[in-house]
Amino acid sequence: MDTAFFAKQVINGLTLGGLYALIAVGYTMVYGIIKLINFAHGEVYMLGGFFGVLLLSAGIPIIPTILIAMVLCAVFGVLLDRVAYQPLRKSSRLSALITAIGMSIFLQNVAMLIWGSEQRTLPDLNPVFEVQVTAKDDQTLPEARAIKAGFYDPIEEKLTALQDQDFDAVPTLSEYAKQKQSLAQLEADPKTEPDDLANARRQFEETVEDIPIPDSWGVDEGLLTVYFPLGTSVADANSLLSGMTYRARLASGDLKKSMTSEVIKVPDALDQPAVAWTMGGDPTNIANQVVITWKVMLSWLVTLSCMIGLHILVSRTRIGKAMRACALDKDTAALMGVNVNMVIRSTFAIGSGLAALAGILFPYCLGSVVFYRMGFFIGVVAFVAAVLGGIGNIKGAFLGGLVIGLVEAFSQGYLEKWTFGYLESDYYQAIIFLVLFLVIIVKPTGLLGSQSVERA
């Protein structure tokens, strides 16, 4: 077995698992206290992702973004409980469960109506690019200008901010193409009057001249580093930078025309390896290199500290004691002076806040996409994790999350091999559900659960 590949799956699985655990905690705490599978929890996670995209795009740094999103989602979770679940505390559990499913569908579609159905990525937090620049002669200039003009339109605003140019008068590429074509036709036609031809040529030259060339960068050859404003997406920067012509103002004061090619993303500091080692054979082979990036380290650290913090909260503090009391017996807890609704709300707030954290860390650390249905599958996987660990048990949720993360990573990596190519790695989702199926049938209490499961 390829040890490096194995190690990579372990790292990947632990990262995934930690993030699943953050979501699973929300399921498990709510279930522990009000015996409700909060199907809408995945949607809170989705909201967290969207808050992350929106706040980061607005230029807010990552840590305030996470904190704001967590607070917003915590408030949202409390509202969710107040509006949908609290009125049903005395109704049958089936009613509450159906309400939760209804809430999940409702929130997903509200999100789709508000933010559309396209998949988004988190904006690049370190939008720095290196561009290969080569000096250009004049002859190819009009073509290069036209290509650039074609790219300008959709992201005009960002360009203006970048280079302080007025792009209102920029002719579009199609306009340029049209003019070029008509000029070519006139040139090909022997019956064209020479005056007309000259006129058309001049008009075409003017169009080309109207396409502005930035002249602010002082490099005409070599590598050029370009800093974009925070929130610029990689795709935007890439389409803007590749194949553009500009006039470099050199230190000597001369102007030189240059053209860009080969846009390279400068890796984020957190994308650099924190630990790297080689395993199994040839160290130059990239397949044998195992890397743990700072981002992965960060996600482990955040997850672990959240879990420890939560454990301390539940086992050592007053509110934690109240939570445990409510989980045991709400009525008795109420008689002892515990404000049960308050406890439930704080449970929702904590769970939703952690889901929001996962909603940002998932796309941030693993590059997953943010869209209106993202909460459905991951929410269910997190629920599987909660069930696996023993629902109602926070340590169980953590353990279950890690196990499910490892199961997912390994079935993605090895399923095809182990089934002799019969099952493709696409089946990893089915494997997770199979785990859920088996756990519920064989050991409904989960790995660490002690609470007895109701029987018919």
Partner: protein, 624 residues
């Protein structure tokens, strides 16, 4: 019996249902079977077609909802994966029905029953290990089961077609005796239009040729005015207006008298780069092998060589068929009575010149496909048949001899008033193919629903229903009263899965193509919505709930008349979600709960608490 009927009719919910049933029985009478009807109004109104379509969907979902109700309502177990049985039923039916073994009259019923039984087996397999579970855990197991099945369907491409869908299965066929008939008809064929254009050829720098037309610049072909020719300065471009399928070809007479023919089946632009022209001096410098590809040699002193191009255009022709049957020829959009995507289309025959025959039959493609699979298509004149499949139509392309202007026309009934018209080929087709839009299919679904309702009523009123009710109310006391819990639960699982499978099988015939995208978690949710909205455990309630919800869902597909806005597809699910929440908050027993329990058990406590209308006590108690 009469007394029972009177008692039945005295209940408003049954009265509504009986009225709906009568409407459903009468509705297909407004459906004109003859889709070839002329434009004098002998054609089904669009609303009839649409209403029947929606009604079939509602009835199929009602079968599913009643099936789900056995587990959800009668047994009180939440099933979030009912779509699993719909998937098994649909794919089993489709896969079985296309086997050669199952091609006898009535095989479709056998397939449906087998699918149902297979589902029942799966229901037991899923139910047996989960007998001890209830509530949330059972819901999650069902959910996981459906998800696993969904991924299997999506990934087992060899069996299910994967995400692309499964479509090679026939429509319901009642009779397999092949009809063979030959009807002679005439085609009025217009002579192809031929005209010459003059121009000159100039070599360009790359060794290609620039073909410039110097004679009149625009040609318009009458009588249909569908063909316009424009010359462009960059080259010789021929453009068609109106009819993309019009074939044409262009013959280029070269200086030495030989003819170059640019032949295109479709109108596009003629690409001058396919021609090569060189100056005489350059030509002389080439090897003999390289010279072969050069069509035009232009003397060094001449700027260009003149040429004459002959353009041949085949205009659309009128075709006449058996007296009494008028066939529209022309674009489908303009055909009389064709509205919207779903409207039942007239067969459109376009004969576009002697070279090609395009023949399209809207909606009848299944019958034609069936034939193709059975290999019964006999070509009488030895022409190759080329099939191209479009999204909705099948276009059959017959390649004819250019000089033959008279053909045999075969008019074959596909049953249900649909006719296939083929020319020069003798077609054998099975009679009695039932398509998803036909009244026969409507009645098949209606009868299935009535049978389902009958079975469900029987179940509720017999030992099984009472036992399930007892188990739901209190499992422990049911057990101590001697009720074999596992037995009745297994019966419930089996019956529920069986009807899911049958409903799924009929859905397969309704959809004509099976795609896993239809059978997602959301389908389970919609069926669950139908049950919850109507009222769990109440057969008339579930029926009315299904009618209400599915009609609402289909109405949301239409444009809203006054503001002229179309609700986005997903917003329908928003409505479903909202309905689930509101029903649970304000009337958790459903709109039409079982009569006996209505007075006692209507639970509006959720609503009261929602509006903070407290009636004593704190609001944070334990459930139940």
């Amino acid at each position: 019996m009469g007394e029972r009927l009177r008692a039945l009719l005295s209940s408003p919910r049954w009265t509504i249902l009986v009225v709906l049933l009568l409407v459903a029985i009468v509705l297909p009478a407004f459906y004109y079977a003859d889709v070839n009807a002329d434009s004098d109004g002998h054609q089904s109104a669009a609303w009839v077609v649409r209403t029947m379509d929606v009604a079939v969907l509602v009835m199929l979902y009602a079968v599913l909802a009643l099936g789900l109700n056995v587990v959800c309502g009668d047994a009180g177990l939440l099933d979030l994966g009912y779509v699993a049985f719909v998937i098994i039923g649909a794919y089993t039916t489709a896969l079985l029905y296309r086997l050669p073994f199952f091609q006898f009259p009535g095989a479709w019923i056998v397939c449906l029953l087998l699918a149902g039984l297979l589902c029942a087996v799966f229901g037991w397999l899923r139910g047996a290990p989960t007998l001890h579970l209830s509530g949330d855990y059972y819901a999650i197991v069902t959910f996981a089961f459906a998800q696993i099945l969904f991924f299997v369907v999506q990934n087992e491409v060899a069996l299910t077609g994967g995400p692309k869908g499964l479509k090679d299965y026939p429509a319901i066929t009642l009779a397999y005796d092949l009809q063979e008939s030959e009807i002679q008809g005439d085609l009025t064929v217009l002579e192809p239009l031929v005209f010459d254009v003059d121009g000159e050829i100039v070599p360009d720098d790359d060794g290609g040729a620039i073909v410039t037309v110097t004679s009149p610049r625009t040609y318009t072909v009458k009588p249909n005015g569908e063909f316009t020719m424009e010359d462009g300065r960059d080259g010789f471009s021929v453009k068609a207006k109106g009819n993309d399928e019009l074939p044409w070809y262009l013959e280029l007479t070269q200086g030495n008298g030989s003819i170059l023919r640019a032949d295109r089946g479709r109108i596009g632009s003629f690409d001058p780069l396919e021609l090569r022209a060189l100056r005489a001096s350059e030509f002389a410098s080439l090897d003999e092998g390289d010279q072969r590809g050069v069509q035009f040699v232009i003397p060094d002193d001449a700027a260009s060589v003149p040429f004459t191009a002959r353009v041949t255009v085949f205009p659309p022709v009128e075709a006449s068929f058996t007296p009494g049957r008028s066939v529209y020829t022309g674009p489908r959009e303009d055909a009389p009575g064709v509205t919207g995507e779903d409207a039942d289309a007239l067969p459109t025959l376009e004969y576009v010149g002697p070279k090609y025959l395009f023949y399209q039959v809207g909606g009848a493609s299944t019958g034609v496909e069936l034939l193709k699979k059975q290999g019964k298509f006999e070509s009488q004149m030895g022409y190759d048949l080329d099939w191209t499949t479009r999204s909705y139509y099948d276009t059959i392309l017959f390649d004819f001899d250019r000089d033959n202007y008279h053909f045999l026309i075969d008019d074959v009934s596909l049953g249900e008033g649909r006719h296939a018209v083929a020319m020069g080929v003798k077609v054998k087709m099975p009679d009695g193919v039932i398509f998803e839009k036909s009244p026969a299919f409507f009645y098949i679904v209606l009868v299935t629903l009535l049978l389902t309702v009958f079975v469900m009523m029987r179940i509720q009123r017999t030992r099984v229903g009472r036992a399930l009710f007892a188990i739901k109310a209190n499992p422990l006391s049911a057990k101590s009263s001697g009720i074999a819990i596992w037995k009745y639960k297994m019966i419930a699982f089996g019956v529920s899965a069986f009807f899911g499978g049958v409903g799924g099988g009929l859905l397969a015939f309704k959809f004509e193509i099976l795609s896993p995208n239809v059978f997602t978690f959301w389908m389970s949710v919609i069926v669950l919505c139908c049950v919850v909205l109507g009222g769990m455990a109440s057969v008339p309630g579930v029926l009315l709930g299904t009618v209400a919800l599915m009609s609402l869902g289909e109405l949301l597909r239409e444009r809203i008349p006054i503001v002229d806005v179309k609700v986005p597809e997903q917003a329908r699910f928003l409505a479903f979600g909202a309905i689930l929440i509101l029903i649970m908050l304000f009337r958790s027993q459903g709109l039409f709960p079982p009569i006996g329990r209505r007075a006692r058990e209507v639970d509006s406590s959720g609503a009261r608490r929602f509006f903070r209308l407290k009636r004593g006590g704190e609001t944070n108690g334990e459930d139940e």
